[in-house]
Amino acid sequence: MSSSLTSVNSAALQKGKKHLYIAKTKRVDVSELISLLCAVLICLYLFVLSFFSSSALANEQMQIKVLVTSSENLPLASMIVEVETTQTNKQSAARKSVAVMDQIDQQFFPHILVVEKGQAVSFPNSDDIKHHVYSFSPTKTFEQQLYKGKSADPILFEQPGIVELGCNIHDWMQGFIYVAKGGQYAITNEDGVANINIDGELTRIHVWHPLMQEETKRLSANISALSKVGDTYKIVLSKPMIKSLSDYERLNIDVY
């Protein structure tokens, strides 16, 4: 491409010189002038094209698939999957937006909210009664009174980790906020598969759900230790999940 680019430029220059000579002698050849203009435009186009194609190569994202299954090898939906790569975990554009953890029918909705480190979460109150949301989790300890019909300031989640929410007025209310390091996370679909766009080379995968019973809070695995079926990494839980007590909720918490 570079050689053809050079030759086009040389031709244009030759034509340009001729054109200038003609201009000096005040004999203007319109067709020559148009040719020169076209050549300059082509040069500019090729230059811009080559610039953007090289930057696109530098930012190229890859999509990976992670399948999460139970110890009985059944696909698990609604699992949070976060990955680590060789590149610094970039924050997504979503980080600048304010995430929402609502209170509807005396329950947190969604039941599990995933945000990025540094993202703010607002707690609107869609009920016609008061709530008092709190967390004792080390990731974020806070409390906030949520009066009916009044808005409260969003709360910033600066540290990655897991935050368990409760309400001091309605003790059955329970919700979770998973604070991811960056934007490289996804939630498994009904087939147990999470599709994640990553930058750089994949190194580690973390899986979390409040009903997991693994040795550690999150199940983490190095990429070298994982089996790969086609283009899909597979993670199998070592212990069965705890039975869901979603009947505490009136809205469906399994879909979010």
Partner: protein
Amino acid sequence: MFIRYLRLCLVLSSLSIFTAQLDAQNHEFSGISRFSLINTNADKSFLNEGTDIVRHDRNGFSLTQAALAIESDWGNGISSEITTFFHDDGDLSLGLSEVFIKYKPLQRAKKKWQLRLGSFYPELSFENNHTAWLSSDTYQFSAINAWVAEEMRINGVELSYSQNGRSIRSPYSWDIRGGLFKGNDTFGSYLTWRGFAVHDRQTLFNETVRFAPYPEVLNRQTIWSPNDVQPFREIDGRWGVYIGAHLAYLRRAELRYYFYDNRADPDKLTPERYYAWHTIFHSLSLNYQLTESTNLKMQLMDGSTLMGYRVVYADFSAAHIQVKTQISNRIKLTARAETFDVFENDNMPLDNNHSNGVSMTVNSQYEIDEHKSVGLEYSFVKNYAYNRPSLSLSPKAVVRQWQLTLELRF
């Protein structure tokens, strides 16, 4: 009546000035009013010193409820609740029905405790689940809770200790609680002399509630007592007690049991001849969500009350069952059936305290928006009170009442 409404305007203006001074962030105001058109065949209500066990005895318009509840947060787990009523009938037009402080600090432990201090209703029932202890499903309370509304209040302290099952991944939650109180010594007098009633009139602090001038009550040779009750009066200086236990399965079903004993000394009386009544009862309530749209509520109460040296002694019992179904997002239909009985066994048969009855209530409400609803309720109340003949009345009374109500709330 004009003076009552003038007083209401003055209080509302003062309240609006007062509330404007408050930091609105820490105070939550809930108001409710019910404007009703009543059609009834009742003869004379107990509130007008008659013997009919309903609130309304005139056809026409009535402001059946007007209440304002203020919930305030004072930080560190301390909150307070004040409920104010305006009534256009009875002894007091303006007053308080509940005032209490609640202390429930944030607790990391799975088992949590809570303290209530002041004057409040115990949580016997699932019926009174609306603003200002009203019922959201029917306008008239059941006989059990109409009696609680008029004669019972805990003036003291309640400590509860609970564990929500979700925190330990169990479907079962429990709550045990106990209370100490004073100022509920005349509790039982209304029940024996008038019997159970079906209404929605809550007695306010320092209010006197009247009943018919039964000769055997007023007569110096028999009981010799006024034909009214001051329900929240302390007479003997003794503390009353109650215990309660709640057991819930998820948020689908809940059972509540309470035992109440006011430990009043039945031999004590005031110079105005208001007696202390030793009243005990057991109460069992069930709330069960049958389906997503259908709910079942039940309550049973069984107890006894004693005044003097068995001058008046009566066993009482009452029960109701209520089914509510949500026909659509905006329309709900509720039906309640109940039975109630007071059976005397005392040394003064001249003062006949036998009474019993049944009641049926059907209510349908249409939710106009989140601040307005309109509803129609039909009540059928049949009762026998065997002291009516002393007033030359038949022991049997049957009341049929229609009530068309517009409810406004904020």
